[in-house]
Amino acid sequence: MNYLTTLMLLPILGAVLIALLPKSQGLFAKYAALVTTILVAVLTVVMAREFIRDSTDLQFVESYDWIKSFGIKFAVGIDGIALVLILMSVILTPIVILAGWNESEGGRWSVKTFYILILILEAMVIGVFAASDVFLFYVFFEAMLIPVYFLIGGYGSGARTAAAVKFLIYSLFGGLLMLASIIGLYVISGQQGDHTFDLQTLSTLQISSTTQNLLFLGFFIAFAIKAPLFPFHTWLPDAAAAGTPGTSVLLLGILDKVGTFGMIRYCLTLFPDATKTFTPVIIVFSVISILYGAFLAIGARDIKRLIAYTSISHFGFITLGIFAMTTQGHSGATLYMFNHGFSTAALFLVAGWMISRRGSSTISDFGGLQRITPVMAWSFFLAGMSSLALPGLSSFVSEFLVLVGTYTRYPAAAIIATFGIVLAALYILIPVQKALHGPTSPGNENLSDLNLREKIAIAPVMAAIVFLGFYPAPLLNVINPIAQHTIAQLGFTDPVPTNGGK
């Protein structure tokens, strides 16, 4: 079975079906989108069961000629990292739809358009993680922007248009740099053989170090904007604050991972020498991101912006793990991507429910929710604990792996990054105290607690956060082989115990 193309076609089919509906059939569109995305999730799980864990080759490979004259193929295939990220994406999508059941109403366009956009986005996300042709990856990378742009600009709140445009300009700028690099690669491939965009072939090219450095930067800056890394981050808080909570989950939880995924899949594979050249700089920027994002989160007054800033801090951990070039750092970073998707989803969805009930996203407008809406308050608290990486929850495993993996090669960076765990306690406990504790402040007395639909949406996220905290093996078993392989390809071996120099 051609799993990957089927997985991409399913949501497109769903989108077409919804497009054919009359505008008045909003509710039907919701159910159609929900059923479609659940089917995609189920099919992905079926595919995952056939995945061969110990193999580091791409699996479920498919390849079709697309634009023959340019050597462009529609080629897909996934390794363990891509599998984990696709799993995360397809599990989160139906949860987002269910959680934000009413987000689609009151937008610039109709309800059904909202779900068409979501389904198209899902197809493209699967495509971007599965592409093994660099040009195809680029197409998905850019095309992904379209539905997100319309989701923010059409259904968001506040300064949604400005935020959507800012998001688009940033992304297009990064995309242009990447395009230049891709074309550069294409030219070089022509000089050393046939013109091609095939990732495998491109990774065997001999490229002079100056050229490699330039091409690397083209890719890396595009990914650093997407991830986002300091100082390319300022679009994220605006976009996350303007989008609907569901959109922000898709944006922070899924789309931004394309940045860190791209670093592993493209920067490291295509430009091993340039990677080594830039590693020290990237480590520094990762550490800055961790602390900088955390401080901004501590100072944030708006709950959506706060979550966006925490993500900047978390992405700092992910890039730190990737470029530490140890098995622990690399596996930890990939696991971090998955876990961050779930804990950010939990935070953003619950925050969204709080905001829609209260009619405000300013933290100080809330107060005493623990006694008014206990289930909602507890959900927010648990999501917060996951964000600060409490041991026993999934994010702890990934964060600690990143730290320990970094320490063995860059102890100073790891030590500074460890301050992030104290700052995390502050940026979570401050909003927890303001919003959930204290006396009930005016305007909060009559808020309603989570309804059944919302409980059903949040339960699997919470369950995953707790379960994977105690038993991360199902994911680590898939991630480890490819992480080890990537490190080895770059010529790194894990540092051996030093005995402190004795």
Binding site: K166, I183, T234, Y407, F419, A425, Q433, G438, D494, N499
Partner: protein, 630 residues
């Protein structure tokens, strides 16, 4: 009765209780507290059974390990979820589940009027489970889960009445101070893995012989940082006084008998590190000595009965930390004092709760006085704990504290004389502030207003106090009789050759200690029993009293050095990010695009501008490829 698999029940029973009570919600309000108490009691029975099984085995076979599953396995970083029950952890298991169950029983009555009693018991069960994991984990990383787990439970319980903003702030403060300590634990684990390649206790112990002094010192210092956070030792002690915002049974269980002693456990558990890292070990002694004085001095000036007891806890844990820094001879005495303290301090906290119960939650001792007449049982049980903490023979503290003072003096040289003297002086100050507390509360004539109606508490409150009082009387003798605890624990430590540093015989030290205690008592008697006590705190006091009342400026220090600069930094970064980082990028964008039309996009221009962008993108893409392929 149980096989080794029952280790998992120790943690599993209370963990189930916590999860069930939290998920089941109001439906189980009627009997939730009973379930939690039964589960805690069952864990105690499992613990007792394990203890007898262990005692029946030969010393070298006593430790058992149970691997549950492979938790994290990445490259050479392999950590099992595994439990280790040995002579050290069984002491804690019995203390945690034993005292824990008594406090569950006490809380049934104490919290009976609270509409959230079920939630309270859920947190208590969560605490028991996490604390058991802390002492049963077989590696530093397993310990870490319990370590932050108890921190979470403590946070939830300090903030149990977090509708009061001050209580919510107290809980946050405790969590953050603990996180600073946890940073130390994180780094210790990272250094251990980077230098030794393992994070299990057995692995680190085995490899510690091959490691350099520098690495071991670094690990030791980081572990000490962790211990100062959890055990409220200098300089991370400031949270403990505020933690008294929690309901009194919580103060007894978590902030006196068990959780705050986890730092001592960590140091004793890591004996193989500290034995080989003298610098770190010396720091342990210094931190312990500073804190024991620090807490004692604060204790002399507190009028809030719970805060006075909290200062005392800080000071007594200082004794334990000091002892644990004295090497193999000190470890067993640190644990012995930890156990006896668990009895008498928990007992006194429960007694304070009983007094508060009878006095409409009043905590100001200046508004007590003469309560012994109305609460005779509380008075007697509290009094036995008081005699124990003073170190009056034959009560528990006499055996455990005397041994610490003795070991301190015998540790040799100037250091021995210095820390021995500090420990001795601390005993005198302890006698002063505890006598002050005792006199102000129970003796003299009433100073409370007439609307107060002091009355003895109910049976369920008195029973745990009575049992703990028995412990305050007998535990010291039982643990030290025939060197019972020392011999029990000795297989775990690498005993070095006894170096005789007896600068004076034990009997002289004991006598000296009693002289100091008597002096402390006499001073308190003179100040508070022989002269009239005002029911408001006098304001014309010396600078020393003022300093002690302000907790020796610990909060002022933290605010000036960490909080305000931190807030300033945050503010600066927030505005920098808006103006400079975002502004620069916006500026570049405007300059690049020209007139900045795109940024001025209006509602109507929304789709149009997008289409224009796509068009530009597509044209440049096609053009680029066309150029390349020519």
């Amino acid at each position: 009765m149980f096989n080794t698999n029952s280790l998992v029940y120790l943690i599993g029973l209370p963990l189930f209780g916590a999860t069930f009570l939290l998920l089941a919600g109001r439906k189980v309000d009627k009997w939730g507290h009973i379930l939690a108490t039964v589960l805690s009691g069952s864990a105690f029975i499992v613990g007792v059974d394990q203890f007898f099984q262990m005692a029946n085995r030969a010393p070298e076979d006593r430790a058992i390990t149970q691997v549950l599953f492979s938790w994290i396995n990445v490259g050479t970083f392999n950590v099992d979820a595994a439990l280790l029950l040995d002579q050290l952890s069984i002491c804690f298991v019995l203390l945690i589940t034993g005292v824990g169950t008594l406090i569950h029983i006490y809380s049934i009555a104490y919290m009976s009027h609270d509409e959230n009693r079920r939630r309270f018991f859920a947190y208590l069960n969560l605490f028991i489970a996490a604390m058991l994991l802390l002492v049963l984990g077989n590696s530093y990383l397993n310990l870490y889960v319990g370590w932050e787990g108890v921190g979470l439970a403590s946070y939830l319980l300090i903030g149990f009445w977090n509708q009061k903003p001050a209580y919510a702030t107290a809980s946050k403060k405790a969590f953050i101070a603990n996180r600073v300590g946890d940073m130390g634990l994180s780094l210790a684990i990272m250094i251990a893995f980077a230098t030794l390649g393992t994070v299990s206790f057995a692995g680190v112990a085995e490899k510690s012989h091959t490691a350099s002094q520098g690495a071991l010192t670094a690990i030791g210092i980081m572990l000490l940082v962790a211990a100062t956070g959890k055990s409220a030792q200098f300089p991370l002690q400031a949270w403990l006084g505020d933690a008294m915002a929690g309901p009194t049974p919580v103060s007894a269980l978590i902030h006196a008998a068990t959780m705050v002693t986890a730092g001592v456990y960590l140091i004793v558990r890591s004996n193989f590190i500290f034995d080989a890292a003298p610098t770190a070990q010396l720091l342990v002694v210094i931190i312990g000595a500073i804190t024991l004085m620090f807490g004692a001095i604060i204790g002399t000036a507190k009028d809030d009965i719970k805060k006075a007891l909290a200062a005392s806890t800080m000071s007594q844990i200082g004794y334990m930390v000091l002892a644990s820094g004295l090497g193999p001879v000190g470890y067993a005495f640190a644990i012995m004092h930890l156990l006896t303290h668990g009895f008498f301090k928990a007992g006194m906290f429960l007694g304070a709760g009983s007094v508060m119960h009878g006095m409409d939650d009043e905590v100001n001792m200046r508004k007590f006085g003469g309560i012994r007449l109305f609460m005779p049982i509380t008075f007697v049980t509290f009094g036995l704990g008081y005699l124990a903490i003073l170190g009056v023979p034959p009560f528990a503290g006499f055996y455990s504290k005397d041994k610490i003072i003795e070991t301190a003096f015998y540790s040799g040289g100037i250091k021995g004389i210095l820390i021995g003297s500090v420990a001795l002086l601390g005993a005198g100050i302890t006698a002063f502030y505890m006598s002050r507390l005792m006199i102000l509360t129970f003796m003299g004539t009433p100073r409370y207003t007439e609307d107060k109606n002091p009355h003895e508490s109910s049976f369920l409150i008195l029973l745990p106090m009575a049992i703990l009082a028995i412990g305050s009387v007998a535990s010291g003798f039982l643990l030290s009789h025939g060197n019972a605890l020392v011999n029990w624990l000795s297989p775990l430590f690498e005993m070095t050759e006894e170096t005789e540093n007896e600068i004076m015989p034990p009997i002289v030290i004991s006598s000296l200690a009693l002289v100091f205690v008597a002096a402390g008592f006499a001073l308190a008697w003179k100040m508070y029993a022989r002269s009239a006590v005002s029911n408001t705190a006098p304001t014309d006091v010396s600078i020393f009293t003022k300093a002690a009342r302000r907790d020796l400026f610990q909060d002022d220090f933290n605010e000036a050095v960490f909080m305000r600069p931190g807030q300033l930094l945050t503010k600066t970064l927030v505005s920098t990010d808006e103006l400079l980082v975002d502004g620069t990028v916006r500026g570049i964008g405007k300059a690049a695009i020209g007139s900045g039309n795109l940024l001025r996009t209006t509602q109507t221009g929304f789709v149009r501008s997008y289409a224009a962008l796509i068009l530009i993108g597509a044209i440049s893409l096609i053009a680029a490829i066309w150029v390349v392929t020519q």
